[in-house]
Amino acid sequence: MEKVSRMILKGRVVNGGNISGEAVVLNIPFSFIGDFDLSSGCLSRGHPMEGQSLAGKILVCPTGKGGTVAPYIAYEAMKAKIAPVAILCQKADPILALCAITIDIPMMDRIEGDIIHQIVTGDRVQVLGDTGMVILD
């Protein structure tokens, strides 16, 4: 895909806050329980992107899934400083939203365009959760 140098996309804010960082893009739904290894901060055994670290990254994914215990894992990850620092998704599900709210990291969904394909793992992204904008540098 042709890359535009700088793009500003609008989205809906699930949890506010501004931060910039490096993106990790998943093309399948994500859960902190099952997909995330709390001992390393990486995607866990059996995940298509196994070993990819989420620590300090901006997680980009279609939506969340699964277990009601996930906010606990997110909290422990935050304490160990291996949690993602923001979440962007196509459509927020309650559990992933609750993870972001519990550890108070910016989270947005329903972002213009197709973030799963417009953003590539390693891209620098600014999340402006206070104004509802995402900037792709």
Partner: protein, 414 residues
């Protein structure tokens, strides 16, 4: 979201910092999912595994929970503070959990939380009735509350449940609204006599339906109306394991489903799920045992055992002894064990080598098995599902009778 004056005060921090944090979580969460207001909560069921720092922080300056009836979900997977040594779980794991537990316990005592440590709160004092809004942990407990009693619970996570106990409120959304509780898919049986299904059969049927239904509300047709609680729990709980079903109406049995039409709200079902013998057999084969393989550990009690289930195991084990190579764990609530002891069941099982625990027998969130455990057998498809994902053990799912047989002989027999 529109808040009452009292809710505004909580959000502004006038009722303490912890309450402010709790209210802020609920408001953000409700706003994100289109809730117009908060609703008063009648009953809480808390996770017993909250990170202590989080628990202490959010209950700061609180003397009592605003929800009067508050119970706790099981202890963490494979940790019971009284029986961990007999269970044989690694000491380093148990020591770390003991410390965490002591920190949480100080909060439970201060706030009058009933230390039930079970996933079946209705059996130990957390009574609920139709129409009540409740905020509970546990996908199985939430599903049973919605489906059996007609109380209203959302599939929610640890943080909102704790915040609801603190504030007495939960966002009015999802399955709390009558119109969102209607069934969208109908489940029918083909060539299966449900009046003669065992509870193991019901678990398998449920696991199959959950995979097909995903997160849809369902209504199940063709069940006899005299099913015991144990059969109902077997039929419901796996729906939230292989799928994310929040409510399953049982036509002619449960409060909101006198008929299929009522459960569907007069609409036509969008999907139909058919379960027959073939589907059942295929699902049975998902966690197979190999003939003659050594079984290191047998796990019962996911969900926790009722007193009748403990009685059944005691009758099967009467006069027998566990093989010296095989451990036997049973999960239940302390209150249930008191009655089971009175009935003589506990004595028979303990003499045979069984160990009782009040923890999550599915190993959630990340239980540690005894070091030598390579093969584990269970009569719970939920336990088989989670333990096979959370540990390195090979997991066999089979009937209670086959599991007991493997406890006694130490090997799996097909």
């Amino acid at each position: 979201m529109k808040l009452t004056n009292e809710e505004e005060e909580m959000l502004a921090g006038k009722k303490g910092r912890g309450t402010q944090k709790a209210m802020s979580i609920l408001v953000k969460f409700g706003d994100a999912f289109g809730a117009q207001r908060l609703a008063p909560v009648a009953s809480s069921h808390l996770w017993a595994i909250d990170p202590p720092e989080f628990l202490l922080d959010i209950t700061d300056s609180l003397d009592t929970f605003r929800v009067g009836n508050t119970t706790t979900h099981p202890l963490p997977g494979f940790f019971d503070m009284d029986t961990w040594q007999e269970m044989g779980v690694p000491e380093s794991f148990a020591k770390a959990e003991t410390e965490l537990f002591a920190k949480r316990l100080s909060v439970y005592k201060r706030l009058n939380v009933l230390q039930t440590f079970t996933c079946l709160p209705t059996l130990v004092g957390n009574s609920i009735i139709q129409g009540q809004i409740i905020s509970w942990m546990g996908s199985g407990a939430q599903l049973m509350a919605n489906s059996l009693s007609g109380a209203r619970a959302n599939r929610e996570g640890i943080t909102t449940v704790l915040a609801a106990a603190i504030t007495g409120r939960t966002p009015y959304m999802g399955l709390l609204l009558p119109e969102n509780r209607l069934a969208k898919a109908v489940v029918r049986f083909k060539g299966l006599d449900t009046a003669n299904c065992t509870d193991t059969d019901f678990q398998v049927i449920s696991y199959y339906i959950g995979e097909k239904a995903q997160d849809k509300n369902i209504v199940i047709d063709g069940l006899p109306n005299n099913l015991a609680f144990e059969s109902l729990k077997s039929l419901l709980v796996p729906l939230a394991v292989s799928g994310a079903v929040g409510i399953a109406h049982l036509a002619g049995i449960t409060p909101e489903a006198p008929t299929i039409d009522v459960a569907l709200g007069g609409e036509k079902a969008r999907d139909e799920i058919i379960v027959g013998r073939q589907e059942m057999l295929e699902t049975y084969a998902k966690y197979p045992g190999r003939d003659g393989e050594q079984v290191d550990l047998v796990v019962f009690g996911c969900p926790h055992l009722t007193v009748n289930e403990i009685g059944r195991i005691a009758r099967l084990l009467h006069g027998k002894k566990a093989s010296s190579n095989t451990r036997l764990w049973l999960g239940s609530a302390e209150q249930i064990l008191t009655l089971a002891r009175r009935m003589g069941f506990v004595d028979i099982i303990e003499k045979a080598g069984g160990v009782f625990a009040r923890c999550c027998m599915a190993g959630v969130p990340f239980g540690r098995l005894p070091d030598e455990t390579r093969v584990l057998a269970t009569d719970s498809i939920k336990a088989a599902h989670y333990i096979s994902k959370l540990t390195r053990a090979r997991v066999i799912f089979g009937s209670t009778r086959d599991c007991i047989e493997s406890v006694v002989t130490g090997v799996w027999k097909r």
